[in-house]
Assembly symmetry: C2
Homo-oligomer: 199 residues x 2
Amino acid sequence: MTGRRELQRQALKDRLFEAAEARIARDGLSSLRARDVTSDAGCALGGLYSAYEDMDDLILRVNAATLRHLGDLLEQATQASSDPEERLVGLGLRYLEFARTNMNLWSAVFDHRMQHDRDIPDWYNEEQKVLFAHIGSSLSDLQPAMDTASLSIRVRTLFAAVHGIVAIGLREKIIGLPSDIIANEVEAIIRLMVRGAQA
Amino acid sequence: MTGRRELQRQALKDRLFEAAEARIARDGLSSLRARDVTSDAGCALGGLYSAYEDMDDLILRVNAATLRHLGDLLEQATQASSDPEERLVGLGLRYLEFARTNMNLWSAVFDHRMQHDRDIPDWYNEEQKVLFAHIGSSLSDLQPAMDTASLSIRVRTLFAAVHGIVAIGLREKIIGLPSDIIANEVEAIIRLMVRGAQA
DNA sequence: GTTATTTTTTGAACGATGTTCATTTTTTTG
DNA sequence: CAAAAAAATGAACATCGTTCAAAAAATAAC
């Protein structure tokens, strides 16, 4: 009976992934320990290194999944309205919502640094691009005449501005105030940038 | 001859500080090692813990100095123009300039996380406020009618947006492109927010 | 089905790192 | 100069991620 090995191999990989994801979600990236993950997954310490290259690899897999989950949520915003400005506002507000309800997983995406000074693998950089794709398509609808280079700069700026507001807002834990202050700020800056770009 | 002890004590503290600051500036926060710092400062490993509480303490002292240096640069922007909008643009462009020319020290301010989950000491949080003070005074000149609460929100949003653009821009190492793309983006978003707030 | 081969799993051991503390050295005091 | 106080030292400890020789398990060969 061949294929059994491959099955067990994948099962271990999955258990390690789920253990790491659960640990990050519960306690944050900074308290993730190889020994805890392998203990949760029911394997020996060294088993982690037969399933993943190292801790960086495992963390990047979890972060990539987080980016995909975020992408799924943003997908809804793309379908929610036919007006580009409203779609962009929807994207921003959903981004804030995702950051709030998945704070530790979301923080891990931006807090993680590769050990030594190793490069981020190409497959992960591809996952990152999903974030910008949604913004790009709406912004392109809004300004069909804009060339690709200028558009990609604008996309990055718009994302960076919204991300900055969400990141600092959540770190300082300013949530729940009248009709949600942070959401108002996010919406305001998006409408501002959209209209500013049109002028 | 009294006071000699206090003098030597302060001298060691200074040497450790300068060693840590130089190491962070050269190699980045992530490769800062207690043994390297004490070796540079010419004392034993344990000496660090007679001068500072722990590594967190030492790092926060360096980061506080970085914030003061940044504050000094921003001070120039406040005096450069009497027009609030131009002052805010000056603040943003100087912030970008500082981040570029002091990338590792500047990154350390935002990358550092306290060990375990200890709180950031009050004296350090006070240093942080200097960042917002300059923005607040210019924004207040621009809109004297705005109440304090709304103003402080706007200040935080403006800072967060600019910081996000600078942080992502520098991380992706997109520098030196035609007439400085990032600077253009920073200037554009500040003018947009200023005019948007006036409407 | 039994043995040999290949693969996987194991966990002790290693190196790196921040921190502590008994001992030694230095400085101040009487 | 001798006694007391303070500071400096660096070996030892705890906690990490990572490695790898040995044991266990799975597959292949006959």
